[in-house]
Symmetry: C2
């Protein structure tokens, strides 16, 4: 596939990220793209399919945000991506393989990734929510929704997402600490375990500082 | 001084934090209070003065935010604090010592902390902007102003604060990494150096992850 097709798809994808928040902006797609290539090589995946899938995987995000979560960004993203890929003249069997990646990349989605490429995209996308990047994104997101720095001494599982009681630590407890156990590829799991350890150490330290122990 | 006076001052101070942002909310005052007691003990400071100063040090913050920075929160806070302390019946010489702490606690203020208590408050306040807490606050603040997660490959010193190009890393480069060299007490310096190392390691890791190296 000529590089110009990937460039074209990139331009089309980028247009969907004009009004998005910092915690889910185009730089997330760029990081996922790089991780996909890295993991994809180790897992002997079709990098052509992965390039297209990574660039397009979150183009439905803005519609999901505007609908307050009623629209699923993986579903609407897959529909939008099909149009772009058809217009770019990508071969039909490649399109189906890209679409499968996009449809199944969601953490709490109903569809399971069945191909190597879909598993790699799933892992890469989730990896960008943990480690130092994940910590930064969790606090950034808390700031975006007007939430707190930290909620000491309360059961964070009982607070609501998108509320003022939301915190990065709540996100860690209810979601981010599970990520390493959800990895679908060997290469993804190994990166996840290291990022997980870093995140645990960060929140341990945060608690010690909040309590004035260090 | 009876505990009831500290409780009364705490209640009056708390009332100034109703509409504040997560990055500068009441929990910041609580952490500064705890650090003041810890550092104050080591520095043989007057803990009574420190308790009052810590509780009241940021009560002018909301006015500064509303004035978009034209009003200095240390100056207006000192004025508001004087009223509260007089009404609580605190002895005049104690009031002067508390006021001096509040007036001189600002990082970029014109007045220098001259007493042990003022130096301890200055250090405690600045310590809460570094380490794991500082990292969290910097990303939270970036989220509050609609900024980005990260600005790779650009000179962050040339971006503006409060802009969409603002990032936690920019805050680290232009301000947070200097904090350890601004400490005024021995105990504060030792805590700062450890928190500084943690912060440097975090941003190193963030860069490695953003560039897809780990």
């Amino acid at each position: 596939m000529p590089a110009s097709i990937v460039d074209h798809i990139k331009k089309r994808a980028l247009a969907f990220f004009r009004d998005c928040r910092g915690s889910h902006d185009w730089s997330h797609t760029e990081r996922v793209y790089n991780l996909c290539l890295r993991i994809g090589e180790q897992e002997h995946a079709d990098l052509e399919v992965l390039r297209m899938a990574a660039l397009l995987h979150d183009i439905g995000r803005e519609q999901q945000d505007r609908s307050r979560g009623e629209i699923c960004h993986a579903q609407v993203g897959a529909r939008l991506a099909r149009e772009i890929l058809e217009q770019a003249g990508v071969a039909p069997d490649k399109i189906e393989r890209v679409i499968h990646c996009i449809e199944t990349h969601r953490f709490r989605g109903n569809l399971e990734p069945a191909t190597t490429e879909a598993k790699v995209l799933f892992d890469a996308d989730k990896l960008d929510s943990i480690g130092a990047v994940g910590i930064g994104r969790a606090f950034l997101f808390a700031g975006e929704v007007g939430a707190k720095l930290h909620n000491g001494g309360i059961d964070v599982r009982k607070t609501r997402r998108y509320s003022k009681e939301d915190t990065a630590y709540r996100e860690f407890v209810v979601k981010l600490q599970e990520v390493k156990d959800r990895m679908l590829t060997e290469a993804g799991r190994s990166i996840a375990e290291e990022r997980h350890r870093f995140m645990v150490a960060f929140f341990d330290r945060l608690h010690e500082e909040v309590e004035g122990r260090v």
